[in-house]
Symmetry: C2
DNA sequence: CGAGAATTGGAGTGTCAACTCCAGAAAGAG
DNA sequence: CTCTTTCTGGAGTTGACACTCCAATTCTCG
């Protein structure tokens, strides 16, 4: 792992040497295998040899495509960020109504239920494991979470612009809170092996957002 | 690390051989040193040799007091759970008003600010790192989080019993959501090195709880 | 005091992890 | 076709890590 920071190297973008079509394929195979293993057993619990076997490549190939285990980890972060965001599409891109938010909540809860509450959040768990250990990885993860937060904020902003939320609803604040609740809910759900914490966290958060709504669903008018 | 479960062994409770006063002292020294290191660098990032040096003991002493690294980890979990709960006392034991909740929020945010947002939650980060790897540790952490959740729930319950919260406020649900928001806020705060996520998450949660209040603070009466 | 238990020191062991090296096989450019 | 670059295989190196072993010392308790 790395501790210092280096401004260069676009990381996820395979910058260095040109890649053949075949080269690109094996590189992807390595990243995908590493991502799976690291999701299941953590970064520290995954050796390059494990990756080697899972990807069906030889030792030298890993070090041909990645300078370090650290570099491989950063590629995995990019891969998982993409995967997480895509798994929530197209809902994530249109979180501009309470119904959409509720559907998104159900999707997220459903995903956890499918995998029996194991593994937690692919990038959340890496954030926890790497924040104090690898500053470059941390920086990548900050960007990854920003890409997650943005569509949430934009959805809320759209609702407010449309007058569906009162003016004192702060989309930035609420988006950050929602993402936090999601992450904490995922953590406790992973720990307890049941979706109750995730559901409680998201329901509370959506309830709070709904309290800013200008057209109340069940309650009495002002 | 362990994967299987064994019902025996009370873990945190030093059961086996009797401990001399001196023995208890060195055992505590080992646990405290291990806790610090694991908080800073993670469980996987802390070797028994690191602990040995930090605690100023010899190799055999660690294995005299702990069967495994796994057993040491469980002792650290017990230690950190206690530390986390005590750090929030006496507020945590009396979370039965909105003011108390707000004071608690300020305390938690203040703690993070003091340590420059580093390290996250001592037991939350262990939960993330160990959930998929060590079932015994996971069980201990479940208990630890339950001990955290209980006073929150009891505070909310007291408010409801006293008629300060409406009947449709579910203390269990809200406590779980609050703990989730806290954990997620801590995770993102650790990642981004700023308290904004934690503040947003807790403020949203307290706002949501306040929406169940029967005596509104700033707004007009019913 | 003296026996037995608890505590300590530190050398040693086997394994596994990250990473290196070099030579050979394919692929693309001209 | 041939030169250059990319890709691949696998043996080898170095260090770290979890854990063992045994002998010496200190403590407790009757």
């Amino acid at each position: 792992m790395n501790i210092d920071e280096s401004p260069a190297a676009p990381a996820g973008t395979g910058a260095g040497p040109r890649l053949t079509r075949k080269g690109r394929a094996t590189r992807d195979r390595i990243v995908a295998a590493a991502a799976n293993l690291m999701f299941e057993r953590g970064v520290a619990g995954t050796s390059t040899d494990d990756v080697r076997i899972a990807a069906g490549v030889s030792t030298s190939q890993i070090y041909h495509y990645f300078a370090d285990k650290c570099a491989l980890v950063r590629a995995v972060i990019a891969h998982q960020t993409q995967a997480v965001l895509e798994a929530q599409e197209p809902l994530l891109g249109n979180l501009d109504s309470l119904e959409a938010l509720r559907a998104w909540r159900d999707l997220v809860v459903g995903i956890q239920r499918e995998r029996e509450c194991q593994g937690g959040c692919p990038i959340g768990s890496m954030a926890s494991e790497l924040s104090e250990v690898d500053n470059l990885a941390r920086a990548d993860l900050v960007v990854g979470f920003a890409r997650w937060e943005t569509p949430i904020r934009q959805g809320l902003q759209a609702m407010r612009d449309r007058g569906e939320l009162t003016a004192d609803a702060d989309p930035e604040h609420l988006a950050l809170a929602t993402l936090s609740a999601l992450q904490g809910g995922l953590l406790l759900t992973q720990l307890r092996r049941e979706t109750a914490p995730l559901e409680a966290a998201l329901d509370a958060m959506l309830g709070h957002i709904a309290s800013y709504a200008t057209t109340p669903s069940p309650a009495a008018p002002a």
